[in-house]
Subunit: 433 residues, 2 copies
């Protein structure tokens, strides 16, 4: 396991303009590769400070990764600072200039002269072509420690890092990872439930909250493959109500992708009828390329009138039960399935806040109904006053998608364990067509 | 202007589990307060390394802000490391314990014993109550430099930082800021257009890309108020086609908030008819609390059948022109306005990719139509192959919202300048009711 330090360069990282994220990405990549990120330092565009930070970063590190400051403007001084550190001159690289002119040629634009700064590199460094941007990269060596110098633009940083890191790091013992995604359970609750099964020596478990999911990662040396598989199957079993399905390659799906996979498998299509989520469910489903084979259409029936006109919810029912009610949610789902040309329908109505709550139906009260040919299910969520409008909408969206998928899998009752679900019941039974 | 350094503590910041963001927030806060963040260092939960990082951070700083490692578990060692740095003992604080027990009492939960660790502080430090979490904070002093030690949880960090920073920093000359938001123009293009008006000495302009917007901030010493106002009005004038409106307090609105404000002002309501944006426009509009007075309802007509059934778009028109066409977009908008009970309608149909493109209609071809009583406008966006499905959907959403707002303001033709707009025309004129 090698230790890597990182230096991120740029005034914009320190004055609230740009949120540094390359360190986050690099930390995850190194962990999965069996290495570790020791420290990350963000410094401003000041040559002496950059040199001092670089010098410190080399201490004890197998590699230093540098991000940012390779642009064409005068405040892009990373290459100058590294030349200072090495006691090198900057030298123009003909290959880099050729590539840069070709890139501008492809954009059909003349190359401004100041872009030539991007073809200067410390004399002793090795130039690394950047296949996805104008700033070529380089590898310098200071007191035997390699420095991999990359652009700050995340896509460029990640692309070149993935190409170069394996060569610059010592081979690590190969590890195997099992990653699963959960929804509707908190990180500490998840950890506690997994602790019921003792984790064998040599295996490593981490949890990572990545809203609206919590991800579980179990890893082991590749030689411990059998132990890993056995432990994962035992430790994940108690998490069944919260686990999202995986695809054919074993990668965990999002809640929306899991719904689309289930619809495809059964040859069904879904319609959405949303009030408080305001189109969020439809947006999640259609974010996935090729969703048109599982997604028929959706309506955002924000007003009572539109609930009646588009979905056929009787105005009298809305008046008697209130728009936020189990009866209206299920009527919306039935109406959507009957009218919108789909075999499956999901409906949501609730109080997202901050206004609109009452004592009987406080902010965070949300009803979700799912209708399939065989049955209809409705659940009430109580998402509480401490959550924001955005959080209430996001949690409702994920809970609704989970109810659809679990119902298609024949296990709707598992949603009872989803965080915030106050009640769950079947409001109609029938025969699945 | 005082320089502040920051140290962020936690293994999870370095292994890809948690994306550090308190530095980003602090950098912006300090800049607006007339100070600056000099550096940010992320270190793992290692006592000696933390002490070394803290010592370095005090060099040249007026204040060091420390984030993270104040939790109740054994790997939360920030208080221990700071005691090491100061040569202090840790001492229990009775007031802190009382507050902590009261917090658990309010949650109705017994307090686990390990939470008592959170009431230990370096003997010479000043305890700072945390009104929004269990971890009380503290201010220590090392060689005359104050260290403000805060929890890593962003909401807690920001809440306590806002209370304590003003006391710990020297008074800065008050500055005035004018902040505007733009959409549909790149950062460098924006900067170039503003450079046409020379920026007077003492004024400062920054641009910040905050997808899908680019924000412009102009600032000056409060004493230069007149120069600030004069420069801002001259320099922002050429940006008119891209500027978003401001609210009564001068704060820049989002594209969706600007649409709702315009609808409210005219007493109108909007209906949305979305294909490739899949509910994204409805979701943006309904994200805003109280949107029901301006948002009537929406449909996500992903399939051709739903375009005909819900919006009355003739199947023959779809067959002749293709679902992605100016004719279908405008028919969707007219159908939505006629059928969905709204005075304004917006419709989007396009190829979000990555599949589904053709030579005539490549990925990124999107048509947006807006219908009001007086007229109907349609624009074609060419968002290009280099953008992802997500980016194409987001840009289409913002462009559509901008066309609605500019049409309500009587200036639809300004959308011609919106990045990616290939054509724009009025397809129908009439009298505004």
């Amino acid at each position: 396991m090698a230790m890597v330090n990182m230096v991120c360069i740029g005034d914009e990282l320190l004055d609230g303009r740009t949120r540094e994220g390359n360190g986050f990405w690099l930390g995850g990549w190194l962990r999965r590769a069996g290495h570790r990120l020791g420290s990350v330092t963000l410094v401003a565009d000041d040559r002496a400070n950059i040199v001092a930070a670089l010098r410190r970063a080399t201490s004890g590190a197998a590699l230093v990764v540098v991000s940012g400051g390779l642009g064409p403007t005068l405040d892009d001084i990373t290459r100058d600072a590294i030349a200072d550190l090495l006691g090198d001159e900057l030298r123009a690289d003909a290959g880099s200039e050729e590539r840069l002119r070709a890139k501008f040629g492809r954009f059909g634009r003349p190359m401004p002269d100041n872009n030539l700064r991007q073809t200067l590199f410390p004399a002793s460094s090795r130039v690394v072509p950047n296949p996805v941007g104008t700033a070529d990269c380089f590898v310098a060596t200071f007191e035997g420690i390699p420095l991999l110098v990359l652009p700050g633009v995340p896509y460029e940083f990640e692309t070149v890092a993935k190409l170069e890191l394996p060569e610059l790091l010592p081979a690590a013992a190969p590890r195997r990872f099992i990653t699963r995604r959960t929804a509707g359970i908190g990180e500490s609750d998840l950890a506690r439930r997994m602790e019921a099964v003792p984790c064998p020596d040599g295996l490593h478990v981490t949890w990572c909250a990545s809203h609206p999911y919590v991800e579980v990662e179990i890893s082991a040396a590749a030689t411990d493959d059998e132990a890993l598989t056995a432990y994962a199957s035992a430790a994940l079993a108690p998490l069944a109500p919260w686990l999202l399905p995986v695809d054919a390659e074993g990668a965990a799906l999002s809640a929306a992708a899991a719904v689309l996979a289930a619809l495809r498998q059964k040859g069904l299509r879904i319609a959405t009828a949303e009030s408080c989520t305001g189109g969020g469910i439809a947006k999640e489903l259609t974010e996935i390329a090729g969703s048109s084979d599982g997604f028929a259409c959706g309506v955002v029936t924000y007003s009572n009138r539109s609930k009646s006109e588009l979905l056929g919810v009787p105005a009298a029912l809305i008046k008697a039960e209130g728009a936020v009610s189990s009866a209206v949610a299920s009527a919306m789902a039935e109406g959507a399935r009957a009218r919108l040309g789909a075999e499956v329908a999901v409906a949501v109505t609730g109080v997202a806040g901050p206004g609109g709550g009452s004592e009987a139906k406080p902010v965070g009260t949300v009803y979700v109904a799912v209708s399939v040919a065989a049955s209809g299910w409705v659940m009430k969520l109580s998402l509480g006053r401490s959550r924001s409008r955005r959080q209430i909408r996001e949690t409702s969206t994920v809970a609704a998608l989970r109810l659809v998928e679990r119902l298609l899998a024949g296990r709707p009752e598992e949603l009872e364990h989803f965080g915030g679900v106050a009640s769950l019941r079947c409001y109609r039974s029938g025969t699945f067509r």
